[in-house]
Amino acid sequence: MVRLITHNLLACHVKGCTANNFPLEFKDVQVVLRESEFNPDFLRGFIPKIDWAALTGAARQLGDTSLPDQLPEMLDDDFLKTLHHVLLEIHVEEGIMICPNCKHNYHIANGIPNMLLAEHEIG
């Protein structure tokens, strides 16, 4: 499954591609929504690990503009529910993720990102 929580953790690792290799850019995506259990404690704990600009940028690429540009100081339930939906309920089933630096294309099929590289691309 490529949910935005996972997308927020994936960087390109083609040989020599070490700067500006995150976040990967979505292209030609098919998205499915699946409900999941809301856990505010998990979200509060996980927020410090999120790259906020990468998350809001990726959400916009998927057509979701519900998150604010800046992480709010007050983490109320309304905000956490919005975050829950964007991070954990949007599944990218098919599509491509493109490295902003080296333009390597990583394909997503059946919800699984293929991040494997050919021998000559491995650092």
Binding site: R3, L9, L10, A11, H13, F42, N114
Partner: protein, 219 residues
């Protein structure tokens, strides 16, 4: 007693390409169950299983800690194993996040010292070097067991990664067999990465003398 995950959706055809849970899987489940209290009370946020295969182990971990309390990341180099792990997650109502990659490549940059629980039941069977390398390239069932020299060829590649990933209070569970030279593994992990360890479970299964080693950073 925590029930073993439901794997009834997996078929004989799946197990032609993906490792079927066996004694080495079950000893890891038992080690996790033995530590259930600490695994729950440590308030983990991120778990990462390397080579998740059928998805049995991470599904089991989620039945200890809860499906929504932790992000359950799994990687496998074998695309069919990624499909099986995803399906096992669905069958057991836990969202396992599969990434088709080698070890934790692609995750190192963003998960520096951020993973609370790392699980690895590696390809530990001693084979010739070439056999283990070819098995990884083939991305099929051979990669789940062929371990090269001392059965440590793949595991050795993961040690620097686990040092980069493991959170300060994190726990790393590794399955090993006697031929892997467990005292030597423990000594190296302490010397090279400052990780203390304990063999938390040992069991004989046929010809294999299986162990689960738990590593934690020495503070």
């Amino acid at each position: 007693m925590i029930p073993t995950p439901d794997l009834s959706h997996l078929r004989a055809e799946d197990y032609e390409h993906v490792y079927e849970p066996a004694e080495d899987t079950f000893i890891l489940l038992d080690a996790l169950e033995q530590d259930a209290e600490e695994l729950t009370s440590m308030r983990a946020l991120v778990s990462l299983e390397i080579g998740s295969g059928s998805g049995c182990v991470s599904s089991f971990l989620s039945s200890i800690i809860g499906p929504s309390a932790v992000l359950y990341l799994c990687t496998d180099i074998n695309p069919r194993a990624c499909d099986c792990s995803t399906a096992t997650g669905r069958q057991n109502k836990v969202p396992l996040e599969l990434v088709n990659t080698s070890l934790a490549d692609n995750l190192l940059a963003r998960l520096h010292k951020s993973v609370d629980i790392v699980l690895f039941n590696p390809p530990y069977v001693p084979t010739v070097h070439h056999e283990a390398s070819v098995a990884q390239v083939n991305r099929d069932i051979g990669g789940s067991w062929a371990g090269g020299h001392d059965g440590m060829q793949i595991t050795d590649r993961f040690f620097p990664q686990v040092d980069s990933l493991l959170a300060p209070h994190g726990r790393f569970y590794l399955v090993a067999v006697a031929q892997n030279n467990i005292p030597h593994i423990q000594q190296r992990m302490q010397q090279d990465y400052g990780m203390g360890s304990k063999v938390v479970l040992q069991r004989r299964a046929g010809r294999e003398h299986l162990s689960v080693i738990r590593f934690m950073r020495i503070r």
